[in-house]
């Protein structure tokens, strides 16, 4: 650090980063020479509520609120974990409906991201334009689930709403709309010289770094790591479809691992989602949508269930994992652990930002599509100037203690 270095705090309140996270950036002129990330500016205690206050059915809606945008992935993932633990598996039709919902969500999330990214580089026209196009999928979601954003469609052992013939028609119409508009979106994002100027060779995350830092989702795929839960560990209907992870070389044969590549990957994924939805609607099997229709009975079954389960879902931002442990005779989960994709995708910010310019911070940070609401889990208390830093060693000690306690409790109930 030379004497010309000074540091700029980006966040927790900053127009570029809409959520509470702090990036401390050391700059020399415009160049970034040091980056540090401070997470956990807020803590909502979602897992605690799930383990102490709520019964599994209430938890579905709590999981839905882990993140405003991924409100299918989180309950989907949690429900999978619970199903894994309790052995109440969904019928086939429910699997397909879940996949349709998850892909609708991916379309809306990626379009939302694309708009935000355009806004970050000061291209507001594209931002408004993309969001206007996004309305169609929002309307579709509203039609299918009853609300624009929170879908409230997951249930342990199935889904809560069926897709009617009318609904199928609407979905097909909507997908046709996106296939038509896709050329336009592609033209705007991939051929506009100013967007290219701001994103080509910016925020490069090499393949090695992506692997080393466990990047997930489009971020990893843009670095040439073909990693996608839907491909590697297919769940539900995806196993029938055979998803292929999209890397930027499918578009133009080269991998730069930069922000532009992330745009490519996300846009292509929108198209992939459209394909998956069309396929799922065409092949929607008939049958029930719930394994256990009677909610009261389901609640009893879950209360009686015992065991642990893991759910993995490819959320729009990457791999989402929920771990759930159920205990007999107790409504709340014994243990619930959420590992949201942003948790993995925050550390890659550091190699991506180093050596860049201040002007790149917003777009590079946005290029991972960060979602702090999923990420935060530890509070650092700052009280009267005294700062409690939770060190790694202390965390480890706490975890060991907790694991022992859990094991003891679990043993006792056997």
């Amino acid at each position: 650090m030379s004497e010309h270095t000074y540091s700029i705090p980006v966040g927790p309140l900053h127009p570029a980063i809409h959520e509470p996270i702090t990036l401390k950036i050391d700059v020399e002129g415009e160049e970034i020479v040091g980056v540090d990330v401070f997470c956990s500016q807020v803590h909502r205690g979602i897992e605690w509520l799930g383990m102490n206050r709520n019964n599994p059915i209430q938890n579905i809606y709590l999981a839905e609120r882990v993140c405003g945008i991924c409100n299918v992935c989180h309950p989907f993932c949690m429900v999978q974990a619970v199903e894994d633990a309790s052995g109440i598996y969904p019928p086939e039709r429910a699997d397909y409906i879940r996949a349709i919902m998850a892909e609708l969500e991916r379309i809306h999330s990626h379009l939302l991201w694309a708009g935000v990214a355009a806004h970050e580089i000061g291209f507001d026209t594209v931002f408004h334009y993309t969001w206007a196009l996004r309305e169609k999928v929002m309307d579709l979601i509203e039609y299918l689930t009853g609300n624009r954003v929170t879908k409230a469609i997951m249930m342990v052992g199935g889904v809560r709403r069926d897709i009617s013939e009318e609904g199928k028609k609407k979905i097909k119409e909507g997908m046709q709309y996106y296939l038509e508009k896709f050329a336009k979106i592609e033209d705007i994002y991939l051929n506009d010289p100013t967007i290219k100027m701001r994103t080509r060779d910016i925020g490069v995350l090499t393949r090695e770094d992506a692997l080393r830092l466990c990047a997930v989702g489009p971020l990893a795929r843009a670095s040439g790591v073909p990693k996608d839960v839907r491909q590697d560990f297919p769940y539900g209907a995806y196993a029938d479809y055979g998803v292929k992870a999209i890397t930027p070389d499918t578009y133009n044969g080269e991998i730069h691992a930069d922000v532009f590549d992330r745009i490519i990957v996300r846009l292509l994924e929108v198209k992939q989602s459209v394909d998956i939805i069309k396929w799922a609607v065409d092949n929607l099997p008939s049958g029930p949508i719930l394994a256990e229709k009677n909610l009261v009975k389901l609640k009893m079954l879950l209360k009686k269930a015992e065991g642990e389960g893991i759910g993995r879902v490819e959320a729009p931002r990457g791999e989402d994992i929920h771990y759930v442990r159920l205990e007999k005779g107790k409504d709340p989960y014994l243990s619930w652990k959420i590992r949201a994709p942003t948790y993995n995708n925050v550390l890659p910010w550091i190699p991506m930002l180093l050596g860049g310019q201040i002007a790149d911070v917003p777009i590079v940070a946005a290029s991972t599509d960060p979602c702090m609401s999923c990420l935060n889990r530890v509070t650092v208390v700052d009280e009267k100037g005294r700062k409690y830093e939770i060190t790694k060693e202390y965390m480890h000690e706490l975890s060991v203690k907790k694991t022992r306690r859990l094991m003891r409790n679990a043993n006792r109930s056997f």
Binding site: Y6, S7, I8, P9, H14, P15, A16, V27, G29, E30, A118, H119, E120, I121, G122, F123, D124, T125, V126, H128, Y129, A132, D192, T194, I195, M197, R198, Q357, I358, A359, D360, V361, P362
Partner: protein
């Protein structure tokens, strides 16, 4: 002695009149710009008079001075910025009316005066002692230095042409431009050169009034409004007004240099109304020209591109625009020689 006193009073009154015109018109322009930009972005946008509400609101709000700021400089910067911007208008002809300070200064003076609002912003930015504001102030300086050359080159090329044809004119005065509209005196090479210079000047204007893609000094998503990050209330309101007036200044300059035409010479043979009526018609025509220029140098550009990075801005100004203006200079030189 008496005339001297009268002159001073006239200047003071005129400055008032000018600000009475420039500030509301600048705000209205901002409103129109926002409305048009909104429509180009497929949305409705605020009502045209929204900037007036904004200013009213800002002036009612509390003005906060950061603890570490150099408060006198911090408070003086917005006033200086607005005052200097209004001053420039005194040197620019407004449609049918010659500049109020005619004969006291020329284009070169205007070029110098144009830097003062930016310098005031830089001073205010540094005085507010926020890292974002410092970055913003640095960027503002970079921006200023990079558009200075194309701006100067444009003006000099045109002045050269005029003075070579009419050596008796006071070469650098804007009224000379008004008397000899450049499109009338140029040969074919000169026309091409002048078009290039017009484009250069339009782009310089975009930078001068810090709008996307050259709004690096404010860059909302990067450095949170940069130099203005700490400003609030009345001070921010003054900067807002200065920005509005600056838009008028820059477009009036372009109109004065490139489109000094009036409607009256064209229409007098056919329609007869008193001369003050013609003054009004010409003035309205002038306002229309301003709006058209502003549409192209501000609204249209800012909705159709992304913001550049600092190095890219420098490259655009020092590289492309400087090259373009030099090329235009050569074309005009050819024109003069032929």
């Amino acid at each position: 002695m008496l005339t001297g006193a009268f002159e001073v009073i006239w200047y003071i009154a005129a400055s008032f009149l000018i600000s009475l015109f420039a500030i509301p018109f600048g705000l209205l322009t901002k409103g129109i710009d926002r409305k048009l930009a909104a429509h180009m972005q497929w949305r409705v946008g605020p009502p045209v008079w929204q900037p007036f509400w904004d200013v009213k609101k800002l002036f009612q709000k509390e003005t906060i001075v950061p603890e570490d700021a150099i408060s006198w400089l911090y408070n003086a910067a917005p006033i200086l910025c607005l005052a200097s911007t209004v001053t420039i208008l005194l040197y620019i002809p407004l449609g049918p009316f010659p500049p109020i300070l005619e004969g006291h200064g020329d284009v070169i003076l205007i070029l110098y005066l144009l830097t003062i609002p930016s310098l005031a912003m830089v001073a205010g930015g540094f005085a507010s002692s926020s890292p974002f504001a410092s970055v913003g102030a640095q960027r503002e300086m970079v921006l200023m230095m990079s558009y200075e050359f194309p701006l100067a080159a444009t003006v000099i090329a045109l002045v050269w042409k005029i003075s070579s044809l009419y050596p008796q004119e006071a070469a650098f005065s804007l009224t000379a431009f008004a008397r000899h509209p450049i499109w009338n005196i140029m040969g074919p090479f000169g026309i091409v050169g002048a078009i290039v210079l017009l484009i250069v000047l339009l782009l310089v204007t975009t930078g001068e009034i810090t709008k996307v893609p050259f709004d690096i000094a404010e860059a909302e998503t990067e450095i949170a409004e940069g130099v203005f990050v700490e400003y609030s209330g009345r001070n921010l309101g003054l900067f807002y007004l200065a920005d509005a007036v600056k838009t008028v200044v820059m477009s009036a300059l372009i109109v004065a240099i490139f489109f000094p035409y009036n409607l009256s010479p064209l229409l007098t043979p056919n329609i007869s109304i008193p001369s003050w009526g013609w003054a009004i018609v010409d003035f309205l025509f002038f306002l229309l020209k301003l709006e058209i220029v502003i549409f192209f140098c501000m609204t249209f550009i800012r909705v159709s591109v992304a913001r550049f990075r600092v190095d890219q801005v420098v490259k655009v100004y020092w590289g492309y625009l400087t090259l373009a203006s030099l090329l235009a200079l050569i074309l005009i030189a050819l024109d003069v020689m032929l």
